[in-house]
């Protein structure tokens, strides 16, 4: 029994108008799919939220045709300034309907309302706002002479940040003059379908954005469709590799944003209280369902015990529970399948001899939950140090010197992100130089901004999203090959 109990503070669901079933969004209209349908549930309660269409190959074909027609007849003929104005409209409508999107995202994904409200939705709107301004300025973006769009792009996004990933994909594609066929993840289709309504409210020309819901088969149909000029994929490294193989030898281009096993490195002169917050933000934010999560804690051996003590004490104040409660810090695991993966890897960690600790907090009866977990005594060879768990589990290793930290941090096929905690500026810059990672956070973690390019080295994928660099994948200049 604690002294200061926080009473339930639920965000109301009333702002969302959930329909019992959803069709596909093709050529500016909601239409029935020709395939089967599936259910999307709330991972916190396992209640069915809605029925969603599973787009068949024929549906994908219709979407691609609509996108092509829109590209040829309308979108490619508009000035950049006019494309920009549509994107500005979309950005503003997202801001106007922010609460609705945040609640829907939390219901469908399981992430805390605090995060959807304060991170996912605002940054998604900001992405549209930023890219709106590029639409008529591409000549200034150092993309080469006469940058032109590819045509129709196929975009496949994951379930961990549904709305944010949608923004990261659609905004630059449209700004540069492409049209889009987008497939949201099968466990989180609802905010993409609500976004389709925003496109209608913004009077976006029909066919410029098409949303086809479905699972792996629908995704495959997009990847294989000859009418798709470029693919943008965010998801697992395994599927990313499959896409790279599938398009080999074809004219199709791809950018891939895949998994990671980032090292979050704490030096003995780190600002220790903020470093502990950084560890927490690094791996427990979004339930650890983050490709760039700081899932390996590399702590300098001289302060390892102290960091361990402070971290575990701080973890006791993390609140796990109803994602719609405004005080919840850690929400539900997105699916039964993901929960099983986490559970199995954590069991492997124990079997390998690492020491497991969790907060012991109570968990709701229904839904998919995993307590924030810390593994100490972890070695590089352990599976929990090599494989992406994608859950609220941190593996702690130690190091002695900066060079050793670099070696351990880079000793992985992944290369998405890294964290460095030290008060010494020159060490930050030297370490940043050494990290084979596309995003380096120093004295902070998991910070995202539309102006800041994001993407990985090695098997974390290729291509960048955001910033000036993120435009490059969506244009062709026709020079060279």
């Amino acid at each position: 029994m604690t002294k200061f109990e926080y009473a339930p503070a639920p965000e109301s669901r009333a702002v969302v108008d959930l329909k019992p079933s959803y069709g596909l969004f093709i050529n500016g209209q909601f239409v029935d799919g020709t395939g089967t349908s599936f259910k999307t549930i709330s991972p916190a309660t396992e209640e069915v939220l809605a029925e969603v269409a599973e787009a068949s190959a024929a549906d994908v074909d219709a979407a691609v045709k609509a996108a092509r027609a829109a590209y040829t007849r309308v979108w490619s003929k508009l000035s950049g300034a006019d494309r920009g104005k549509y994107l500005f409209r979309i950005a503003r409508i997202l801001q106007e309907r922010a609460r609705e999107f945040a609640v829907l995202e939390t219901l469908d994904n399981g992430k805390p309302i605090k995060e959807s409200r304060d991170v996912d939705v605002p940054i998604a709107a900001a992405h549209f706002f930023y890219h709106a301004g590029w639409a008529d300025k591409l000549d200034y973006a150092s993309l080469g002479p006469n940058p032109r769009p590819h045509g129709v792009v196929g975009q496949i996004i994951p379930w961990n940040f549904p709305m944010l990933m949608l923004a990261w994909k659609i905004a630059p594609a449209l700004a540069t003059g492409n049209t889009v066929v987008l497939k949201p993840a099968e466990t989180t289709p609802l905010t993409a379908l609500l976004f389709a309504e925003v496109c209608q409210q913004a009077d976006l020309p029909p066919g410029v954005v098409n949303v086809v819901t479905g699972a792996g088969v629908t995704g495959q149909a997009i990847v294989d469709h000859p009418g798709i000029d470029k693919i943008a994929f965010t998801g697992s490294t395994g599927v990313g590799k499959a896409i790279a193989r599938a398009i080999a030898g074809t004219p199709k281009k791809a950018t891939l944003e895949l998994g990671g096993k980032a090292a979050n490195i704490i030096f003995d002169d780190a600002p220790i209280d903020q470093a502990v917050e950084g560890i927490i933000n690094g791996i427990f934010f979004n339930q650890g369902h983050v490709c760039c999560a700081g899932s390996r804690l590399l702590v300098q051996e001289s302060i390892a015990d102290e960091v361990d003590r402070r971290l575990k004490r701080r973890l006791q104040t993390l609140r796990v529970g109803d994602p719609l409660d405004k005080n919840t810090d850690v929400g539900a695991i997105n699916s039964r399948a993901q929960l099983d993966r986490i559970t199995s890897l954590v069991a492997a960690g124990e079997a390998e001899g690492a020491e497991r600790w969790d907060t012991g907090c109570p968990l709701p009866e229904k839904g998919f939950w995993f307590r924030p977990t810390v593994f100490t005594g972890v070695s590089q060879t352990h599976r929990i140090a090599q494989e992406e768990i994608f859950g609220p589990v941190v593996s702690v290793l130690t190091f002695r010197t900066p060079s050793e930290a670099v070696a351990k941090a880079n000793n992985t096929p992944y290369g998405l992100s890294a964290g460095i905690w030290t008060e010494k500026g020159s060490r930050i810059l030297w370490m940043a130089d050494q990290m084979r990672a596309g995003v380096v956070w120093a004295n902070t973690f998991n910070k995202f901004d539309p102006t800041s390019p994001f993407g990985g080295y090695k098997e974390s994928g290729y291509g960048r999203e955001g910033g000036r660099h993120g435009l490059a994948a969506y244009v062709t200049t026709g020079e060279g090959a």
Partner: protein
């Protein structure tokens, strides 16, 4: 957990030598120790404070928090224009915060200038449960000789103050003369006798969070029973990030020494919403042992009435207004 025993003041220097592991307590020894504390990243600290501020405290927990906050107030008047009438009004308010609802708790203390202590005592008596805190040591600037500062302290104690709120010499601190700051606190602590000592660091003048951390540790080392943010005469006064740093300091001091030290943010906390954010910070940074008016205070004047307004709203079920809250200390102007 214990409050600093009376005779520790005498041994402050000896204890400090012990903790630092030095044979002589010098300014350079203190410098090495204070500058060896972990740094504070400003952006990260402010982000934590902002995150704590997003907690949504409703219904029962809000009622509880409001009552706790009221009980933690040092109800303050520190004006050059203070008269016996003003102080009597303040004390009457402390004894009956809400004339329409006698279940409202009393604030922890009234806070007045040393020469008003006797007036306060005459109104409060000895069993109201409301303590008398007096500011001393040439409050608010602290710019006077040690002799004057000690005399200021002794007179307030002799007049019946239960608590003394002293100011540190910020000039000495910013010039790096940590030993002088230490000695002044230790001396004032001796002069307090059985009165509890709150050390005002005037964090607005210290500016950096690293300085706030160092001043907190120096004050605790020298024997302060409470570390306090501000005199209320300088802006910024009590902010949430500064208070988070102080809560981290007292938490870590407890781990190191087994002793508890209290925390008092003062100045600029006007609304119930603000006060509840501070209580959330206490809860999640230092821990629930500090959720007690023996270990946490708000230095405030208008905050009390806003808390009472919210309390009335929760009792009545609709919004109340200023006409329904007694104001015994309206502004001069």
């Amino acid at each position: 957990m214990s409050s600093t025993p009376v005779d520790t003041a005498v041994d402050a220097t000896a204890r400090a030598r012990d903790l630092l592991g030095v044979s002589r307590l010098t300014s350079s020894a203190l410098t090495a120790w204070l500058h060896g504390l972990p740094g504070v990243d400003q952006v990260g600290c402010e982000a934590r404070a902002a995150a704590l501020g997003t907690r949504s405290i409703k219904t029962d927990s809000k009622k509880w928090a409001i009552d706790l906050a009221i009980s933690m107030i040092d109800l303050t008047t520190l004006e050059g224009a203070d008269t016996p009438g003003k102080v009597r009004g303040l004390c009457a308010k402390a004894m009956t915060p809400d004339a329409s609802d006698l279940t409202a708790p009393r604030p922890a203390a009234v806070c007045v200038y040393g020469d008003m202590v006797a007036t306060a005592r005459a109104t409060l008596g000895t069993d109201s449960g409301v303590n008398i805190a007096a500011v001393a040591t040439a409050f608010p600037s602290g710019r006077a000789s040690m002799a004057v500062k000690l005399a200021d302290t002794r007179e307030a104690v002799a007049a019946g103050a239960d608590e003394i709120d002293m100011v540190i010499d910020r000039g000495a601190f910013l010039a790096g003369d940590y030993l002088r700051v230490f000695d002044e606190i230790a001396e004032v602590k001796k002069a307090c006798g059985s009165a509890r000592l709150k050390v005002i660091m005037e964090t607005g003048e210290l500016v950096t969070y690293d300085n706030v951390r160092r001043a907190s540790w120096l004050s605790m080392l020298a024997g302060g029973d409470f570390i306090k943010t501000s005199t209320g005469k300088v802006s910024p006064a009590a902010t949430l990030p500064v208070t988070v740093i102080m809560l981290e300091a007292v938490r870590d001091w407890l781990d190191l020494t087994g002793e508890m030290v209290g925390v008092k943010p003062a100045g600029g906390i006007k609304t119930s919403k603000d006060a509840i954010k501070f209580l959330v910070a206490v809860n999640e940074v230092a821990g629930e042992a500090w959720l007690d008016n023996h270990w946490f205070r708000f230095g405030a004047s208008s905050l009390l009435n806003d808390l009472l307004l919210q309390r009335q709203r929760m009792t009545l079920g609709y919004y109340s207004g200023a006409d329904y809250i007694t104001d015994d200390a309206p502004s001069l102007y």
